[in-house]
Amino acid sequence: MKITFDTQTLEINPSGDNYVASMDGQTVSVQVLRADATRGRMDLLIDGKKVTAYVSSDMAKRWVTIDGQTMMLTKTSGAKKGVRHDHAGGLIAPMPGQVRSVSVSAGDVVKKGQTLMTMEAMKMEIRIQALKDGKVKTVHAAQGQTVEREQILIEMEE
C-alpha cells in the first residue's frame, strides 16, 4: 500500500509476519509487537527499535503520538471542494466558535482594518477585520451561528 504525504510517498508492504516500509529511498523493517485497539496503542519494532504509537482517527484526520509528539494528518481528499484554506478571496474563521456580531451586509464598502464581524470561543473574543479596502460580496455567517475553523465567513468582491 502507498500513502501520499504532502510531496512524499510512503510505501508499506507485508514481509512474512512483518512489514517493510520505504520512503525517499530509506527502507526499514517494521514489526507489530502488539496492538490494543481500545487504547489505540501499538508497540512497533521499527528498524530494531521499539516505538510506541497512539493512533486515533475520525473521518478526515489521523492523530498520531509517538514519544510525546503529536502529529495530525489531514486527509486532503476528505476536505470539502471549493473551500480554500487561505485568505485569498475572503475571510475565514481563525478558530471554531460562535459569531457574536456582524457589522456589514453584502454590498457594503469597507476599509482595510475595519471590523466586519466578531467571534467568540472559550471566553476569547476575536475581531474579523478587512484585509484591504473593498466591497463585501457575501456574508456567510449570522449572529449566534456556530462556525468551524477555516469556514468562510465573508467573501469580498474581486
Binding site: 482517527s57 503529536t70 495530525m72 472559550m122
Partner: protein, 505 residues
C-alpha cells in the same frame, strides 16, 4: 481533624475540573453534592459524579453558570445549605456572594465586603498603601491630561495606564514616551467605559521584565490568617497562566518572609477569610515586589500549594465556611519539595493559541508516583467553544526543582490527547528551555520567544517516518475495531494525506 460534618449538602456553581475537585472534597467530608449544568454539559463528568444535578439552561454562560437567580433557585430546590463558586464565573462577584447569604445559604468564600474591597483596582491600591503593603509607584484618581503628564514624569517612562474597574487586559495601555500619552488615555478610557461601564483609570510604573509571584493566604472567621507561601506564575500567554510552580526559583528565605508578611497584611486590611491569593509583581533585578491585585477565591493553581504544604485547601475552604477554626499557625507550615502545574489547554500554539474544539478521540492521562491530574474530561467527551479551554491540570511533586521538571517532562510525554489540538508540545518546549531551567522566565517571555523563534521544538529527527508508518499500520491493525470504525467506512483510506501545521513544524 474533627469528623463533624460542616454541611449536609453543597451546590457547586461551576463546571469542569474544579467542580470535580470540589465534589471529591465534599465526598471525603461526607457531604452530598449538587451539580449544575447547561445543555452543552448534560453528560459531562461533573454531572455524572455529583449526587444530584440540576439543569440551569442554555449553553451561553449568562443563561446558566452566570445566572444568579437560577443558581439560588437550584440550591433552594435541592435543599443545599451552601454554595461553592469554584473559580471564574461568579466566584468574584460580590453581589452573588451577598445574594447567596440573603437566601439563607452559606457562600464558600470570603464576605461580599472583602470581594468588593478588592474588586476595584484603584480603591484596593489605596487600601493597600494604607496597610503598608508595597504597591507599584503610581497615582489614582487623576482626571486631566495635564495631571497624567505630571504623574508620568514623576514615575518615569514607561508607564502603564489601566482601567480601575478592569481585568483581563482590557482598558490597559503601555506608554513609552510622553508623545503617546494623550492617545493612550483616550483609548483606555473608551475601552474601560465599553467593557466595565466605568471610565476611571490609574497610572503606574510599567515593569517590563517582571515576574508574577503570588502568595496563597488562608484565614478563618475567627481572625486567624496565614500565608501558604508563593507560586511563581510567570509563564503566560495573553495574560493567561500556562505553567506555575512553587517554590519560586527567585525567592530567598528573606524575601519570602517579607512577601508573606505583606500578603497577610493585605488580606487582613480587608478582614479576609477563606482562601485568597495576593498577586505581586516582582522585579528580579532590584528584588523588589509590589502588590498587583487580590484574587478573592480559590485559584486554578491551588494544587501546587497543596502538594508542598500538605494541606487540602478545598476541604478547609468548606470547613472554614461552616465556621470552624483553622487550627494551624504560620510556624506549622513548611514547603516540602517542589511542585509544578502545567495547564493542558485545547488551543493551538501554531495558530496564535486560538481555541480548538472537537470530540476527544483519546484522552489518556499520565500516572505514577508524584503525578496528579485534575481534569474534567474522558475519551469521548466533547470540547465545545462555550467555555474555557482548560482540559486538565497536570501537576507533579518531587524532591526538588530539577526532579520536578524531569517528572513533568515524562508525564507530558505520557499525556495522550487526540481530537483537539493542545499546547502539550508547546509546554514541552518551554520546560526544555535553558531560560526555564534557570528560572529566568518573565511574564513577557513566551510572547518574545515566539516572536524571535527562540522556542525550539522538542522533536526527534526520525519522528516523521515513524509517525507515518504508525498511521498507516493502525488502519490495518485496528480495522474493524470499534474505536477505529470510521476508518472502515472510507473507500480510500490512504491517499493522500497532508500534515497539518502544528507547533512543532
Amino acid at each position: 481533624m474533627t469528623s463533624s460534618q460542616p454541611f449536609t449538602k453543597i451546590l457547586i456553581a461551576n463546571r469542569g475540573e474544579i467542580a470535580i475537585r470540589i465534589i471529591r472534597a465534599c465526598r471525603e467530608l461526607g457531604i452530598k453534592t449538587v451539580a449544575v449544568y447547561s445543555t452543552a454539559d448534560k453528560d459531562s463528568l461533573h454531572v455524572q459524579l455529583a449526587d444530584e444535578a440540576i439543569l440551569l439552561g442554555d449553553a451561553a454562560p449568562k443563561e446558566s453558570y452566570l445566572n444568579v437567580d437560577k443558581l439560588i433557585a437550584a440550591a433552594t430546590q435541592t435543599q443545599a445549605d451552601a454554595i461553592h463558586p469554584g473559580y471564574g464565573f461568579l466566584s468574584e462577584n460580590a453581589s452573588f456572594a451577598a445574594a447567596v447569604e440573603s437566601a439563607g445559604l452559606t457562600f464558600i468564600g470570603p464576605s461580599a465586603d472583602s470581594i468588593r474591597a478588592m474588586g476595584d483596582k484603584a480603591e484596593s491600591k489605596i487600601a493597600m498603601k494604607k496597610a503598608g503593603v508595597p504597591t507599584v509607584p503610581g497615582f489614582e484618581g487623576l482626571e486631566t491630561e495635564e495631571e497624567y503628564r505630571k504623574a508620568a514624569k514623576k514615575i518615569g517612562y514607561p508607564v502603564l495606564i489601566k482601567a480601575s474597574a478592569g481585568g483581563g487586559g482590557k482598558g490597559m495601555r503601555v506608554v513609552n514616551e510622553e508623545g503617546e500619552l494623550a492617545e493612550a488615555i483616550e483609548g483606555a478610557r473608551r475601552e474601560a467605559l465599553n467593557s466595565f461601564g466605568d471610565e476611571r483609570l490609574l497610572i503606574e510604573k510599567y515593569l517590563a521584565d517582571a515576574h508574577h509571584i503570588e502568595f496563597q493566604i488562608f484565614g478563618d472567621k475567627h481572625g486567624n490568617l496565614v500565608h501558604l507561601f508563593e507560586r511563581e506564575c510567570s509563564v503566560q500567554r495573553r495574560h493567561q497562566k500556562i505553567i506555575e510552580e512553587t517554590p519560586s526559583p527567585l525567592l530567598t528565605p528573606e524575601l519570602r518572609e517579607q512577601m508573606g508578611q505583606a500578603a497577610v497584611a493585605a488580606a487582613k486590611a480587608v478582614n479576609y477569610f477563606n482562601a485568597g491569593t495576593i498577586e505581586f509583581i516582582f522585579d528580579p533585578v532590584l528584588s523588589t515586589f509590589y502588590f498587583l491585585e487580590m484574587n478573592t477565591r480559590l485559584q486554578v493553581e491551588h494544587p501546587i500549594t497543596e502538594l508542598v504544604t500538605g494541606i487540602d485547601l478545598v476541604q478547609w475552604q468548606i470547613r472554614i465556611a461552616a465556621g470552624e477554626k483553622f487550627p494551624f499557625t504560620q510556624s506549622d507550615f513548611h514547603q516540602r519539595g517542589h511542585a509544578i502545574e502545567c495547564r493542558v489547554y485545547a488551543e493551538d500554539p501554531s495558530n496564535g493559541f486560538l481555541p480548538s474544539t472537537g470530540k476527544l478521540l483519546q484522552f489518556i492521562e499520565p500516572r505514577g508516583p508524584g503525578v496528579r491530574v485534575d481534569s474534567g474530561f474522558v475519551t469521548g467527551s466533547d470540547v465545545t467553544h462555550f467555555y474555557d479551554p482548560l482540559l486538565a491540570k497536570l501537576i507533579v511533586h518531587a524532591e526538588d526543582r530539577s526532579a520536578a521538571i524531569q517528572r513533568m517532562q515524562i508525564a507530558l510525554k505520557e499525556f495522550i490527547v487526540h481530537g483537539v489540538v493542545t499546547n502539550i508540545d508547546f509546554m514541552q518546549a518551554v520546560l526544555a528551555h535553558a531560560d526555564f531551567a534557570q528560572g529566568k522566565v518573565s511574564t513577557r517571555w513566551v510572547e518574545r520567544s515566539m516572536e524571535s523563534g527562540n522556542l525550539a521544538p522538542v522533536q526527534q529527527q526520525s519522528a516523521e517516518l515513524q509517525n507515518l508508518i504508525a498511521a498507516a499500520l493502525a488502519d490495518v491493525v485496528f480495522t474493524g475495531s470499534k474505536s477505529q470504525s470510521a476508518v472502515s467506512n472510507e473507500t480510500d483510506p490512504f491517499n493522500p494525506w497532508k500534515q497539518t501545521n502544528n507547533y512543532r513544524n
